[in-house]
Chain length 326, copies 2
Amino acid sequence: MAGVSVATVSRVLNQDASVKEATRRLVQKAIKKTGYHPNRVAQRLRATRKSRKLIGLLIPDIQNPFYVDVVRGIEEYAYAHDCAVVIGNFSQDAAKEKLYIDILRSESVDGFVVAPHHGRDQYVEALVEEGYALVCIDRGLTNVEVDVVMVDNQKGAYNATAHLIKMGHTRIAHITGNPSIPTTTDRILGYKAALMEHGIEIDPALVIGRESDFESGQELTRQLLEAPEPPSAIFTGNNLLTLGALDMIHRRKLKIPDDVAIVGFDDMYWATSLNPPLTAVRQSGYDIGKRAVELLYQRIEDPDRPAARVYMPTQLMVRTSCGPKK
Amino acid sequence: MAGVSVATVSRVLNQDASVKEATRRLVQKAIKKTGYHPNRVAQRLRATRKSRKLIGLLIPDIQNPFYVDVVRGIEEYAYAHDCAVVIGNFSQDAAKEKLYIDILRSESVDGFVVAPHHGRDQYVEALVEEGYALVCIDRGLTNVEVDVVMVDNQKGAYNATAHLIKMGHTRIAHITGNPSIPTTTDRILGYKAALMEHGIEIDPALVIGRESDFESGQELTRQLLEAPEPPSAIFTGNNLLTLGALDMIHRRKLKIPDDVAIVGFDDMYWATSLNPPLTAVRQSGYDIGKRAVELLYQRIEDPDRPAARVYMPTQLMVRTSCGPKK
DNA sequence: CTGAAAGCGCTTACAG
DNA sequence: CTGAAAGCGCTTACAG
């Protein structure tokens, strides 16, 4: 080094105001020259400071394009603030989720961004109770006060369904996600509200759900199409379900939208690469992720502020997959 | 704690053979009871041991479904071995890549899995020269000996092109990825080899490339379709290019495969949700990622073994997007 | 077989 | 304004 103690170096690194300008310059020059980077591991171990620039990200399914947008938003915002992110994709598997949480905990992350497994996810609840900074995305937690960034699912689902109705459909099915996920419930509510408001009776046989994945989309669509009175339109509860439904519809050589119309929750940047282009409820995973990290750092600064619930906008992207019923 | 020194606890944690069986039991019982987890940050700081269970993952574009599979493979394998992964998506941006590398370096990761920006990526080269354990995926490095897990791109491209020829096409375009990426070059080679071997002359106007993204796929397809002598088939150099091409083809109301056939490099799990189902060269990002981490830990164990180049299989998934030319 | 001590690279009261 | 010292939670020679 060049002339001063490690303590002083540390001070200039941490912008301690007490360092004399001349010393600061000297140190900064030496830092530049040697290409010195502080060891983040030691910093984190020593930390009494609130933020040590590492956050944990727990997502249920990275195969879902919505979550890759979330990852992008989080990661980009985090690194722009000199913060690294440890990723954990627990694939809707509670045991894996627990393992990941334990590992991240012992990595001394500053906090977590999580899309909990379901509304009563005990591992995530435990984290909140232990006092970790934590913000949920996409879904909240029922037993515990926590920051959430999400979308008005009910409204989004309402809009999608209402659009189908406007296009002349009355026999509208809803393939829902896994019923234990709060978003599923909200979307069902929106779907039902739209039907009721337009005087269409709800047929329970048309509201079916299992998992929130591709295979469920396929299988449930098959059931619907084979029913004695098949629907003329389907509203799918998420990305993966939509893709699965599309697979089955094409497989049966059915024409969209004439044989069956479809509107999906979750847009994809390549929705126009589908044939026909998919009408979908867009929510910006990127913005949600970004907002979540912002909120997380606010929470770290101020652990006592009341839990916030941030709603991001939803937008119906009208394309041609549910054009006017013939 | 229950009866022994921290040194002993550390020894049972690290399976030191010298600990008496009875003591070991005692300690393990206490660990279980208190729910103790060692602090990974302290472990990493102290490390003299080779592996401290954190790896850095640097990928060029997480929007590309191929890389999300890679992430999945890496992440799943890593956590199964009690190893966390810090993710960095540098979006094909060299400045970001450098920033991420610096951060990961000061996080004292055990090693890196990287898909380098291009073949002469100096930041990644520097890492290798500094002696970091590092394995490349998808693309190697030209100036430096390094482990690589990849696919035989030339062969994959050859198969795709040959299939198009078998289907009766002779005027076959190739939309390539960014020319500075080694895979791009290899795929062009395979494309040309197939044409030549079948006695088809190579028309330079039909081999065009810019970036490896959606917009380039759109734009380049537009150019191709507007040309005086448009191709009857297109071979797209990656996922994103394929999706962009599809968008443009649908936009122009062209029929696949009759108006224009298409085969893509990179399969997607929802390729059958496309209409018509996409014929594509499949490479398993998941397996590539998994293999890369295995190799990384071998490298950590044995820093001096010669660099390995692992080729994973490629498979032409024949579906209907390039059916027989009419 | 086990404990006391040193040290990993930092940060932060505490002196001066 | 700056340095010496303690300490974050571990691991590992070194004694015994």
